[in-house]
């Protein structure tokens, strides 16, 4: 009997030691911390070479996750998310435009639930401890195994594992993207009175909806030899109302990097585009095949978007 108890404790001890020794566990912890903890703060993020401040309040209430993020600079916009339902409220000159979207991937909830795919295409490393927004942080670096993706640096809160800062850099160590909390509080508040849009009630509400036609839309193309680790995570087909053509939008991801692939018929009088360019940290590559404009867009290296447009055939 004593021998069995000893074996049981030995098993528990070794399992626990193994789990703690898995360096990737910290990524999973960070994912769960972002989803399950109550926190609020302000973070700064770069958009097309401009720094924008955003305020976030996040709470777990029962089985549901509630998030509100609003822009503090420029035109007022805010996101309200409850579970999988996400609504974005934007204001223009005359209207408040309400748009339903899929689940968001906004900072700090940028790390995936599973590390299976990440392990295939990145190496994990740890940097020196640091301090961000007044909190102690440990630095985790995900280094790509190839040049189809960038380096990701995370400053994870030592107490909770919530990402406090994220830097994306290229293979020449040039900054691609940076997002960082300037202040953050982790608390246990149960109150949900903040979960409502702060919008101008004098303006008219407009719902912006686009029907997804993907269930009935045929896939008339095939993809061969896409960069390793990228998987299709979303497929949407929408009708562009003016010229009445279908727009096919596929999203690929390796768990950290995201890339959109658009397939659209070329309209009469429109000259198809070919070649590559960039807009801020986003690379874009275009190709024309058999009456269709193919375009890949992503915050990934130029080589990656070019590889995607060259992977498609009809």
């Amino acid at each position: 009997m004593c021998k069995r108890i000893l074996l049981f404790f030995l098993f528990v001890f070794t399992s626990n030691t193994f789990a703690q020794s898995d360096p990737w566990q910290i990524i999973v912890d960070a994912h769960h911390a972002c989803r399950n903890l109550n926190y609020q703060g302000v973070f700064q993020a770069e958009h097309l070479k401009e720094i924008r401040s955003l305020e976030i309040i996040h709470a777990r209430h029962g089985e549901q996750e509630y998030t509100r993020i609003n822009t503090l600079d420029g035109a007022p916009s805010e996101l309200l998310s409850q579970g999988d339902a996400t609504f974005v409220y934007g204001t223009n000159k005359n209207n408040v435009v309400i748009e339903k979207r899929d689940q968001h991937r906004l900072f700090p909830s940028v790390l995936p639930k599973s590390t299976t795919n990440l392990r295939k295409v990145y190496q994990i490393d740890f940097g020196k401890n640091d301090r961000v927004a007044g909190r102690a942080a440990k630095v985790v670096i995900l280094m790509p195994n190839d040049d189809f993706r960038y380096f990701y640096h995370f400053w994870l809160d030592q107490e909770t594992s919530i990402p406090l800062k994220m830097i994306v850099s290229d293979h020449a160590n040039q900054l691609i993207e940076q997002t960082s909390f300037t202040k953050v509080n982790v608390n246990q508040k149960k109150d949900l009175s903040w979960f409502k849009p702060d919008i101008d009630l004098s303006k008219e509400y407009v719902m912006h909806e686009q029907e997804d036609l993907s269930p009935s839309a045929p896939r008339f193309w095939k993809m061969d030899n896409i960069p390793n680790g990228f998987k299709e995570i979303s497929f949407r087909v929408t009708r562009i109302s003016g010229p009445n053509v279908l727009n096919h939008h596929l999203i690929y991801s390796d768990g950290l990097a995201y890339l959109s692939l658009f397939i659209q018929p070329v309209r009469k009088g429109q000259k198809p585009k070919e070649g590559s360019t960039s807009m801020g940290n986003t690379n874009i590559s275009a190709r024309y095949i058999k009456g269709h404009q193919i375009m890949a867009v992503g915050s990934v290296p130029k080589k990656t978007v070019e590889s995607f447009v060259n992977s498609i055939s009809f």
Binding site: D102, T282, M295
Partner: protein
């Protein structure tokens, strides 16, 4: 039948009505011609090349499957074309018609011969960038406002 085919292109048919129409279209050569006629008319009126719809594919597949009538009737020598029939003027006229139609429609259907231009930053379609950011952004790019441009 013409009305039915026209309705089909306006998506006014249910699946059961579509099956019935498919059956009629595949059995009648005249209806097949009407089918092609409406297909071209729709594209020209809309001024677009539109991706073949599932409905189009389904109908064309059904036409393909319909067995070709190879025999079953006696050839009447009085109505059979003579070997000396001069087909060259007809072929020439047909070619000219095709050429004119191609010039009128200026359609890029299944062609890689259309002159493409180099992609430059100013000509990146805003809708594509907005759709990309709305579904993938981890930062402030997420709030690029989709659909706002066409709402005054």
């Amino acid at each position: 039948m013409k009305d039915k085919i026209s309705s089909l292109f306006d998506n006014e048919f249910t699946d059961s009505e579509l099956d019935s129409l498919l059956s009629d279209v595949t059995k009648n050569k005249k209806h097949q011609i009407n089918w092609s006629y409406y297909q071209i008319t729709r594209d020209v009126l809309q001024g677009n090349y539109v991706t073949s719809s599932p409905m189009t594919a389904k109908i064309m597949e059904a036409i393909e499957k319909e067995p070709t009538q190879m025999g079953g009737f006696v050839q009447n020598s009085a109505t059979t074309l003579r070997a000396e029939f001069n087909y060259l003027p007809h072929l020439f006229a047909f070619s000219v018609l095709i050429l004119i139609a191609a010039m009128l429609f200026n359609s890029p259907i299944n062609s890689n011969s259309v002159n493409s231009v180099l992609l430059v930053q100013d000509e990146i379609p805003a809708e594509m960038m907005q759709a990309h950011f709305a579904h993938t952004a981890t930062n402030a790019s997420y709030f690029v406002q989709t659909g706002f441009s066409n709402i005054k």
